[in-house]
Point group: C2
Chain length 233, copies 2
DNA sequence: CGGCCCTTTGATTTGAGTCAATCGTGGTGG
DNA sequence: CCACCACGATTGACTCAAATCAAAGGGCCG
């Protein structure tokens, strides 16, 4: 993991903010940003605490979740290198609604809320870009949560695997060619299920010939079958 | 229902766009906007169709939902007078993700996507305001959908009633003092359940002494009990 | 080699959806 | 004005997916 010298070199800043920033803003941003490396399963911020900063993911990945009164966690999003985290809280001017926790060792840059809002206000291009991004994130999250409510665990598991195998980029891939390696616990949370149910779903997918499972390594065998079981046609 | 002569008098435009608009923009908006009155249960737009306009609700209310492959509808939001509808689709530059359907007779003004985006781009204050609104809507929707996944129908029903009785404003209230009048079908959709299950939940709430039910009129009797059963403490 | 943790498998429970039948109301037409 | 009809609401019986509870396998590390 390389140390990020300035925002000019950070893949995250480049992807989201970079193309829109004026030279002067770029300098200001670099000056205000604080980089920090988190170990796996460390929290970046907790739901309910004031949204003081937007975080820009330089390397690694995190999950965003809510902890319910019953104690269980509901994952509502995953972010990887180049993504912004904590955006909603800062823009809404309200406390974070979710907790952000690293899935692996990750480096993030904290952009103070003040700085972030200032730059966005001065820069129409950036503001429009953020609007588009927020709109897209919102719709994606909605899709996932609606699916959870109405599709069976087998379908959801298949759909999850497809998403992972396809989108090799961001979102903390953990995909190597046709093999996905992942703890059952983490995977169950992302699918929105339990470890036991997930295990049975994977078994069913193996029986159907869609994948092969060897401990925590899952190999993609037959995409067409996977798609069919995921409900795509 | 009064005919809306111009955006200057429209409660919707005033609430969301008004405070930010320059005089020149206000004129331009009034010129581009098309008002139309929809009857109950009419669709304003369908999921999957290109997002050509943002709609501003002048009077009435609508529900936003997705239709699943199985044919059932999942309501993910409700909008009332003063709200904007179709914002996400236009901002994301993608087709609408949901279908918008009136719950009652409603008047909406269609703002062409072009016009809307132009005005937002020229007006930093408006853009920031939209960012805040989108962030808040996104978080609210997330709350509802997460609740649906992890709370029992009784809790959800109680929480729904509380929300309705409290927020007497927007969202197509249908609340008169302590009495809420609503068809079971519509209510079940908003709670994210079925008519039968909802009926049983209401019955349970009656037994608990939280409410009284007389046909489709529901009277609030004991808020504390309602809150307790909703999971608030 | 032994212990521990992750995973799998099995048995049981349960919440809610579905199907089906009844009830009550409100509206309509005779 | 009353009887009847139709539709929404309620209640009951049944089914089912998935959570939960419980126990047994299998690697991996000390």
């Amino acid at each position: 993991m390389a140390v990020v010298a300035s925002c000019a070199e950070c893949p995250g800043a480049v992807r989201e903010l970079g193309p829109c920033l004026l030279a002067e803003q770029r300098v200001r941003l670099s000056g205000a940003v604080v980089a920090h490396t988190f170990r796996p399963h460390e929290s970046v911020f907790h739901e309910g605490t004031p949204a003081l900063a937007v975080y820009c993911v330089a390397t690694g990945s995190l999950k965003l979740f809510r902890r319910l009164s019953t104690g269980q966690e509901t994952v509502t999003g995953v972010r990887g290198a180049g993504d912004l985290v904590g955006l909603r809280g800062v823009l809404a001017g309200e406390p974070y609604a979710r907790t952000a926790q690293t899935l692996e060792t990750s480096t993030l840059c904290a952009i103070p809320a003040e700085t972030f809002l200032h730059i966005a206000r001065e820069n129409a291009g950036l503001a429009m870009r953020l609007l588009a991004r927020l709109a897209r994130e919102s719709r994606d999250m909605e899709s996932v949560l609606v699916e959870r409510g109405h599709q069976h665990s087998l379908q959801r598991t298949a759909a999850f695997l497809l998403r992972r195998f396809r989108g090799g980029d961001g979102e903390g891939a953990m995909v190597d060619g046709d093999v996905l390696t992942m703890e059952r616990e983490a995977m169950a949370q992302l699918v929105g299920s339990t470890v036991e149910t997930l295990s049975r779903a994977l078994h069913a997918l193996v029986r159907a010939g869609a994948i092969e499972v060897d401990h925590r390594r899952i190999r993609r065998v037959n995409d067409a079958t996977l798609r069919r079981l995921a409900g795509e046609r």
